[in-house]
């Protein structure tokens, strides 16, 4: 989710924000919101709630950054908060069928429609995985985090991350084989 120099830069922006520079928060938000949005798209029951999750995560970030102790990286904090907010949303809404893209109105921008189509494909592929496997695949493979970073974010050992990723890849490949047959 973030490399070390970027994270260092995050801390500087947080320090600026604490001094009252609101633009620093906007920069932080623009830097991280795409990742928060993608994570929300993967973890939510309803894809439509992803925008609301992004909003809620950054409102919480705005309130919490005043007392952010720099014990963890901002990306780790954002990841945990995104997971928590997604869980709260999922508790309210049971799993439903994916939205029908053909029913999208004429006012729906083409790029947005295309983006949703891609995300639906990913969600469809990841449905065979458990929640832990999905988290590992998203962080380790899609977000290109190191094994150590993934382990820190998920609160487990590096060995567990490696094993879970191996199992997840096996499940995904078996699904692909079934699909092709």
């Amino acid at each position: 989710m973030s490399s070390q120099p970027l994270s260092h830069h995050d801390h500087e922006l947080i320090a600026q924000f604490r001094k009252g520079d609101a633009d620093a928060f906007v920069i932080l938000m623009e830097r991280h919101q795409d990742r928060v949005y993608r994570l929300a798209c993967v973890f939510l029951h309803r894809l439509d709630d992803a925008a609301d999750v992004v909003q809620e995560v950054f409102i919480r970030a705005y309130k919490s950054l005043q007392r952010f102790f720099f014990r963890a990286q901002l990306s780790t904090w954002l990841y945990q908060t995104t997971r928590n907010v997604c869980s709260e949303f999922n508790r309210r809404t049971p799993p439903t069928a994916e939205p029908d893209l053909l029913q999208a109105g004429p006012d729906c921008p083409h790029t947005e429609l295309e983006s949703t189509r891609r995300m639906l494909r990913i969600r469809c592929a990841l449905t065979v995985l458990s929640e832990r496997q999905r988290s590992v695949v998203v962080l380790r493979y899609f977000e290109s985090l190191s094994t150590a970073e993934t382990a820190r974010m998920l609160g487990c050992r590096e060995g567990t991350v490696k094993a879970t990723l191996h199992q997840a890849m096996k499940v995904l490949k078996s699904r692909l084989t079934t699909f092709e047959e």
């Binding site: 925008a51 992004v54 409102i59 990913i122």
Partner: protein, 138 residues
């Protein structure tokens, strides 16, 4: 087969990376934060002021009640010495005297009670609360 797997996963990753936040979210989030900020500056002080007012009003009312009930206590406490409630022979008198202990100042003092403060010998001797261990029979 392996190449197909890798291709599938790679294409999934490319799809994942190409998904971006819809453009309206940034503005919407900032507006939401702003609206929450504008609510806080007056909301918390208003709540604090309301609590403070309640506290002051409570203390004021409590003090007022104490001041109002002081004469009643002064009237009622001398009755302790001559309280027939300890040795009730006539219930009616006992009840009548018990009303003399009441904290309600509007009730008239009992006819058996001394009509003016200082009537009791102990009080004449300078004791503020003339409590007699020896009950006086009516």
């Amino acid at each position: 087969m392996r190449q197909t797997d890798e291709g599938f996963l790679e294409s999934l990753k490319r799809d994942y990376e190409s998904v971006n936040t819809p453009p309206f979210i940034t503005q919407r989030t900032l507006t939401a934060i702003e609206s929450q900020q504008t609510r806080h500056p007056w909301f918390r002080p208003a709540l604090a002021a309301m609590l403070l007012c309640s506290l002051v009003a409570g203390v004021w009312m409590g003090t007022g009640m104490l001041q109002t009930s002081t004469p009643a206590l002064q009237l009622a406490i001398p009755n302790l010495g001559s309280s027939p409630s300890l040795t009730i022979t006539k219930p009616a008198v006992g009840i009548q005297n018990l009303t003399g202990f009441s904290a309600f100042p509007l009730l008239p003092p009992s006819p058996q009670a001394p009509q003016k403060p200082g009537a009791h010998p102990r009080e004449r001797a300078g004791h503020a609360f003339p409590i007699s261990s020896k009950p006086r029979h009516v």
